[in-house]
Amino acid sequence: MQGKHGEMNKTSKKNMKPRRIVLREEYCIGCRLCEVHCITQHSMSRNIIKAYRGTEPRPESGIYFEESGPVSFALQCRHCDDPPCLYSCLTGALYRDRKSGQVLYNKDKCVGCWMCIMSCPLGAIKPDFKNQRAGSKCDLCLEAEFPACVANCPNEAIILLDENGQRMLKNDD
């Protein structure tokens, strides 16, 4: 989940709301394809078969999946307007992208202090104990035209809202 390096220090405008992914739990069917496509999108080859079966390292998804009986849903970073994680980050590895308003993460800057994990009220950041750094956090697929989980949810349980809270469809950009 690499962000653009030089952007991290610039103050972002307060009233710029980022796009936001929203999950409607009443339509989640528990297939977990959101995770599959998140992993694929963030892999080197962007190809699902290569990402899962090839030799390249398989990334973690930026999604926490919860399931209890017939209720399930996927949770990812909400790119909050006023993110508690930004306040807690000791190194500035978590930063807000000036253009999109999204909360991004520079893996090389992270020292694994776990302050973000302590602060995120959604528990959306995954610790990567092996590499002593925050492991995975949704970046709204900045490098793709549309977030992979939204584009591939078979039941449209995951949708994308634009800056004004209106639903965006794949060909809207």
């Binding site: 030089g6 220090n9 610039k10 103050t11 405008k13 307060k14 936001r20 929203v22 999950l23 739990e25 926490y64 919860e66 399931e67 209890s68 209720v71 399930s72 849903f73 949770l75 909400r78 909050c80 307007d81 006023d82 993110p83 508690p84 306040y87 807690s88 980050c89 000791l90 190194t91 500035g92 800057k109 020292v111 694994g112 202090c113 776990w114 302050m115 973000c116 994990i117 302590m118 602060s119 995120c120 009220p121 959604l122 528990g123 950041i125 995954k126 610790p127 104990f129």
Partner: protein, 429 residues
């Protein structure tokens, strides 16, 4: 007329204040004064630096471009010594004066140094709160081939310093006045788990004791004598028994202080146009309702931001702080919030789950069915959910029994709260 914003202190409170001012007012002049020379750095990381785990680069959380991009004038190596609220000026140690329209005091804290017999200007004795401390310790360790060290104080600073020393291959003896380590952060059970781990990593932990005299040899520190009479031989001593807010600048002014500089919900001090934020401030306490000093990085950041908004004219209320810590000690990640060690009283309900063989411990403290305290050792995933529950003051009675389970997550919370989080704007720190 351009408003002149002056900020004393270049750590997270000061920087967040500057960012908040710039967001709100693009035309004002923003100046930050720092008595350190480094561009800025993250204080909690000095132990990582000491231990050789990170470079100086990584400690910096805003680089030089930050100041130039945001037109913030940074003056390093300059120390403020007094404030004249009437004239609206501050005086620096080199006698220069700087005017201000709005002032923020974000001077942080300073270590408590007790009077110990024989201590005066003895090389090899350090405190551990600043980058310079770590830098000097590393130089000293190298020059004097330090092999053994004594750390006085088993609080967060003392133990993090210990981690750093251990990583450099130095054996450590920890001396603590209380009967357990981390007495201010954790409860007895958690302290015991961590103490055991520290001992397994080769530390000596001497409780119920303190240093009464230090001894010299060849012109530098060579050992300490404890209250119990015990003698410790060592090459270096680190004093880490606590930190107090640096309220010196308030002396001689009408700025009200107690332990720290007292501020209201807008981070204003008792003197007009003067604000305070961060480790130096005594601000609203979320749990007790009174005011307290909460010297924690995210709290300082948030206070700085609120102060900055208010200074720039955007009225913002501070909702209060509570203790929150994330610290990895002896290889065990830990996270704790709020009142971790409640008094014995029927109004507090305590839920505990402990698996000593897995070095796992989790405790939740409830008052009126609301979470007011939380400790987790060993497993920290999604601990932030509990921070959210504390902040929202949610009544957890309907799912109290699932709070400690492995699968605790949003599905066990009421769906209205879940939907609020999913579509809402998150929660303030």
């Amino acid at each position: 007329m351009t408003i002149e914003y002056l900020i004393i202190g270049n750590s997270t409170a000061g920087i967040n204040a500057a960012e908040a001012i710039r967001e709100t007012n693009n035309t004002g002049k923003v100046t930050i004064i720092s008595d350190e020379r480094i561009v800025n750095y993250s204080r909690p990381l000095i132990s990582h630096y000491l231990g050789g785990k990170i470079t100086e680069e990584k400690m910096i959380f805003r680089d030089r471009e930050f100041y130039s991009d945001n037109r913030i004038e940074l003056q390093t190596g300059r120390k403020a010594v007094s404030i004249n609220p009437g004239r609206k000026t501050i005086v620096l140690s080199d006698n220069t004066k700087i005017k201000f329209d709005k002032l923020l005091i974000a001077t942080g804290g300073e270590p408590i140094v007790p009077p110990i017999e024989g201590k005066i200007s003895m090389p090899g004795i350090f405190t551990f709160t600043k980058y310079d401390d770590a830098r000097q310790m590393l130089d000293y360790m190298k020059k004097n081939k330090v092999k053994q060290a004594v750390v006085l104080g088993a609080g967060l600073i003392g133990l993090k310093c210990t981690e750093g020393l251990l990583a450099q291959g130095i054996t450590v003896s920890i001396v603590e006045l209380a009967d357990r380590v981390l007495a201010n952060t954790f409860d007895r059970a958690a302290s015991e788990i961590l103490e055991k781990e520290l001992m397994r990593n080769g530390c000596r932990v001497l409780k119920n004791d303190t240093i009464v005299r230090v001894e010299k040899s060849a012109g530098k520190f060579a050992g300490a004598v404890l209250k119990t009479g015990r003698k410790l031989k060592a090459d270096m001593l680190v004093i880490a028994i606590g930190v107090v807010p640096r309220i010196g600048l308030a002396k001689g002014t009408q700025i009200k202080t107690s332990r720290g500089i007292i501020v209201n919900d807008r981070m204003q001090t008792s003197v007009r146009d003067i604000y305070a934020a961060g480790d130096v401030a005594q601000a609203a306490d979320f749990l007790s309702g009174g005011k307290s000093v909460t010297a924690i990085w995210p709290v300082a950041a948030r206070q700085g931001r609120v102060a900055g908004y208010n200074m720039a004219g955007k009225s913002t209320e501070y909702s209060g702080s509570f203790a929150m810590n994330s610290v990895e000690l002896a290889g065990i990640p830990t996270i704790s919030f709020g009142l971790t060690n409640p008094p014995e009283s029927p109004e507090y309900e305590v839920l505990v789950r402990t698996e000593p063989e897995n070095r796992f411990y989790r405790k939740i403290v409830l008052k009126n069915n609301r979470i007011v305290g939380f400790i987790t050792l060993g497993r920290i995933e999604r601990a932030g959910i509990f921070l959210g529950l504390i902040r929202e003051r949610l009544n957890v009675s309907s799912y109290k029994n699932s709070l400690l389970s492995d699968s605790f997550g949003f599905l066990l919370l009421p769906s209205e709260y879940r939907k609020h989080l999913v579509t809402g704007n998150g929660i303030e720190v």
